[in-house]
Assembly symmetry: D2
Amino acid sequence: MNRKLRMGMIGGGKDAFIGAIHRLAANMDGLIELKAGALSINPEIAQDSGRSLFLEEDRIYTDFKTMLEKEAAQPADKRLDFITIVTPNFAHFEPAMMALDKGFHVVVEKPITFTLDEAKQLKAKVEQTGLTLLLTHTYTGYPMVKQARAMVKNGALGKIRKVWVEYPQGWLSKLSEREGNAQAAWRTDPKRSGKSGCFGDIGTHAANLAEYISGQKIDKLCADLNIMVEGRMLDDDGAVLLRFDGGAAGVLMASQVAAGEENALKIRVYGEKGGLEWAQHEPNTLLVKWLDKPTEIYRAGAGNPHLDSFATHNCRTPGGHPEGYLEAFANLYRNFALTLQAKIDGVPPTMGALDFPSVDDGIRGMAFIDMVVKSSASQEKWTKFEI
Amino acid sequence: MNRKLRMGMIGGGKDAFIGAIHRLAANMDGLIELKAGALSINPEIAQDSGRSLFLEEDRIYTDFKTMLEKEAAQPADKRLDFITIVTPNFAHFEPAMMALDKGFHVVVEKPITFTLDEAKQLKAKVEQTGLTLLLTHTYTGYPMVKQARAMVKNGALGKIRKVWVEYPQGWLSKLSEREGNAQAAWRTDPKRSGKSGCFGDIGTHAANLAEYISGQKIDKLCADLNIMVEGRMLDDDGAVLLRFDGGAAGVLMASQVAAGEENALKIRVYGEKGGLEWAQHEPNTLLVKWLDKPTEIYRAGAGNPHLDSFATHNCRTPGGHPEGYLEAFANLYRNFALTLQAKIDGVPPTMGALDFPSVDDGIRGMAFIDMVVKSSASQEKWTKFEI
Amino acid sequence: MNRKLRMGMIGGGKDAFIGAIHRLAANMDGLIELKAGALSINPEIAQDSGRSLFLEEDRIYTDFKTMLEKEAAQPADKRLDFITIVTPNFAHFEPAMMALDKGFHVVVEKPITFTLDEAKQLKAKVEQTGLTLLLTHTYTGYPMVKQARAMVKNGALGKIRKVWVEYPQGWLSKLSEREGNAQAAWRTDPKRSGKSGCFGDIGTHAANLAEYISGQKIDKLCADLNIMVEGRMLDDDGAVLLRFDGGAAGVLMASQVAAGEENALKIRVYGEKGGLEWAQHEPNTLLVKWLDKPTEIYRAGAGNPHLDSFATHNCRTPGGHPEGYLEAFANLYRNFALTLQAKIDGVPPTMGALDFPSVDDGIRGMAFIDMVVKSSASQEKWTKFEI
Amino acid sequence: MNRKLRMGMIGGGKDAFIGAIHRLAANMDGLIELKAGALSINPEIAQDSGRSLFLEEDRIYTDFKTMLEKEAAQPADKRLDFITIVTPNFAHFEPAMMALDKGFHVVVEKPITFTLDEAKQLKAKVEQTGLTLLLTHTYTGYPMVKQARAMVKNGALGKIRKVWVEYPQGWLSKLSEREGNAQAAWRTDPKRSGKSGCFGDIGTHAANLAEYISGQKIDKLCADLNIMVEGRMLDDDGAVLLRFDGGAAGVLMASQVAAGEENALKIRVYGEKGGLEWAQHEPNTLLVKWLDKPTEIYRAGAGNPHLDSFATHNCRTPGGHPEGYLEAFANLYRNFALTLQAKIDGVPPTMGALDFPSVDDGIRGMAFIDMVVKSSASQEKWTKFEI
């Protein structure tokens, strides 16, 4: 392929958090360029944001429908390859469906849609169009998460028995949604966020990570969701007992009222022969624990001979040059871009390129939200995980 | 008081683990001397063990009844002050009752008895005799655990919302009880250990620590106990959702099949204003997290001006001279000894001296075991914590 | 400014390490686009590399002179703004001088030149042309390094007494330069690397960081450089005692034979009231130690209220989303780009934008190399730091 | 042996720091009992201290000469086995010599004497009497220090190239000796402490540890000692470049004005194949770094199969039950006691028992003090280490 891929963006104006992250991630490897945007429904913000990103004037839009209509009509040498959707949860489905209909590949911020039903429709659309969808479950983009998955998969730990995953944050310890915090406002609002707050926002990340690394799927669960801050409308805390289809037992803990915690996603997986521990705060380290010999510190790094090829493929720097959240995010975009390049070039993508979260992860995420909400309201101990 | 306290020991022969720990802990501060022992029911081991501990020949016994009979008849200047019981769980109750009947104070290794009912009888006996009982829940003897408790108590964190406590070990990852491991053999045997394995052994420590620091009592729980190693007779793993009487929600995780873990007890407590994190592997550090300012690293150390008096009272060395498990254990003995000294001298003990686990902790521990076993067998989500 | 800045690159073909890092860093924030390159003197590599970076065919060059000649003649709407030079040390000076002569701003990988004399000539050229030069001393681009510098500057620690800086790597523990390692080959070759190996490569980083944070300049030093691997031509290890002009004493340790170390740059600074500790392996944390209160853990993060404005300016993500080496590198490029934008727009750059290493840092770095080599060969204890 | 060893103590009254530590260490293993003391030259403190330690009235003394005279005349079944000397540095020599003359084994707190010459006389006395002397260089008592030494010795790391040892404390950051701090007063007073402050107090520990682990002896050095706090009479800070007799190069850094540091002794040793890192703050961990495979975390613990026998011999608890400073100190006493027991029983002591610092360590320590003071005053770079 002899050109960068062309990206359009829906949402992500100047005042938004995650849109900027997507752009940093898409920029990093020089494979993608932003060419059009409906960055805000506020015309002034849309305009300002587009200009500061050096968009051409006529490719700055204020509504996504106009953008998709007009951009679909661009000539081949200007045509967008894919659309990134970074609006609040309730506004993912419609633009995603329309983008696919117009022939664009799609990147969606998680959770994939507002409801499980929408997610299913989206999956049908992806299958029908043959287009590619990337769901940005960032944390599976880290090289040492890839390494962990590979070590489970190749049996280094033996049969997996335990999965403990936790995701404490503290930023909703107060009723910030009433104090002018825009992020807090939409994320705690059932009309914009969905039927779960904390578990929709971060619990799904934890569940996705647990299944990704363990190679097992959640089979049944027992949830206890809480609203810890008086006056809040959605859960801000909770814990879930898990049973996996491969026989593992687990616990998933998530909280946004763990005062003083930043974004402390952490997972531990134990098998018959050893265990793994990975924490997002120090993402380049994977602790590998053994029954009969000392714990080993695996470290990320291009050229590190003891790493699996999937881990190596997702490193840019040699060991000791820490890569972080943006690189993990960029790995999603890079693998997505390599897959699109291969499609465009008519060649099969490499395995590594194909390793990114997709619409199936989105459906499991939406089902997870449904199941924890259902279980939390139930007096029965176990709720079967059904899609 | 112008002499050391005199200790007799039941159990704890050469081949045992915890007896040696008790002796190290009792020796450390020079307040106690071992004077008699029924250290083993195996006469040879009893004899050897007693001699290697420099006991006088006529105070080495092979059964506890003879020892208690004969020692009760010693003259005042030789009479034992207290009896330490370090036999397996099923053999705590009888010697403890008899020791109290003979007028000796008692130290018992946890869990206090084999059944909750025995624990209640023991409590009645303690109250009736007016004697003092120390239950060696070691982990509350650490200075930074005292500090954590004090900070919760004085309101530094605001109302407590969350308690996460975990206790992973890996030493039962194989069926070691069939491979000649004596420790494993009795701890996984319902006849010697009780109705729970992992939760009787270490789950109770975690529950005790959670209640001690949070100042709240477990009110209801939802348990999922597992036998992960085929052929085992008692749980070796599990997790419990918790609700506390003060409004906190919590999770307790314990496992003896977390391959590669040593003894990784850890607790996190979050309130409205901040959180605490303490891990037994690095016991001299307490992380104090705040909503609005940087996390602080509190460190143990005599003379450390920012520590609570209960923490300081339980430090022997200045900051940076790490104290560990044996010192925590010795704190229990020291506080117990100071309490006995005060009793003997007819003066009121200091608050710090009184701060050690006692028969009430034992009863809650036994009830905890009952409740988790009951809950784990139930299809109902919540089981009320009742004694 | 309504367009991205245009970059040309000299060196950095497919097989090189640092060129790719520069491109990642330049891409990240969407302010810069690569438009021309003399990426290798090997025509095939130059061609391949240029194409894989989507350069237009006629802007792919095989020698820097041709590139600078032709690019200087481009019309305004295509003209390069600056040239990045990522060749080995001996090939920095000539292209840098020529680029400045042609009116391009310049980015140079460190060390700035091959000799101190060249560095001085380059400084004269920068001053004469009024153009801007960025020297990529990466480590001062980290937000928590900015924070450390700010805390020293504002007197939080009192007068600085101690600076300990260390930079252990292990990758030259064997005679890799004879085993086909191209990086090792040129870096240990006096003809390509200069008069020092380890101290030219990483010792200069440590010295730069020490002066940047402490705000004091090295005044005299006592060096002990070593060649630890037999057959090597340049130092691969050493240590230096330091005295600073502000009264601090210090130690600088650097090694490339610290087997098992990756890239473990670390600095500690102590003043009358407290100390700072920062390690590149966990760059988002700054330990702030105090004489009379607990150590604090400062953490990077946009919007973190207790950070200095220079630190905040160099964060892209909220706390708990780790930024790493590439972001630190990108901070250099971003601040350089913001400075060029301001120049082009005819407005004054912000203070934060101006905060990047420049030709003066380059001169001090070259002098540092001269001084440690001189001192190491001397029997005198102290060598005065002179430029 | 069928009794505890009997200890007498000189110095270590109620108000002293290190005397209490010695007693805790001597008590722990139940091998030693304190039977007599000249604990203070202040009669009231001596009396109070002796009583609180349950000494018999007639074995409480106020001067060491009387004590040694009278105790030498005790009958065999009461006679002291050894004398522990915990007075300030200037008052070590005389009681040590006299104790040996009276036939007592001796324990001396470090530094062994006030001058190198005294140390040599003491050595002659030890050799002449055939008695045993323990010098309490605590830090070599840690099991993971034993492990480190063993791994160097058995060649696991290849030839040792680098030794970095550091010992930062912050407690003398102010002129505390003028503010009523008794510890600070004598330690900074040349008449009581000797010719060096910081390097006599903690620099010697670092040097001892470096030689113990590396198995190499310091051959020449280049020191830079400082007085950082105005008005102080002895060095409170410094750094030393080292060359060892086995070819290693090293750095030793020690400071008592590293504000905010507790007692952060740390050592790193690198050989051709790997490196070791041990820090006293987390003493149960030894990081073992390798050129070609992941870093391993060795952990202390009785029964830990991958530990050397010298490490195991010095562990009391299983892995995960942290042992600390007092246990390290107790290891010195225990090995000394086992050696005395063997002597008394007329059997050869085990190798492990013999592994404690002795008069030769004391002589090297005193020579180290002399050499760093001499080097620091010299304009020559290198000073030969001579005894």
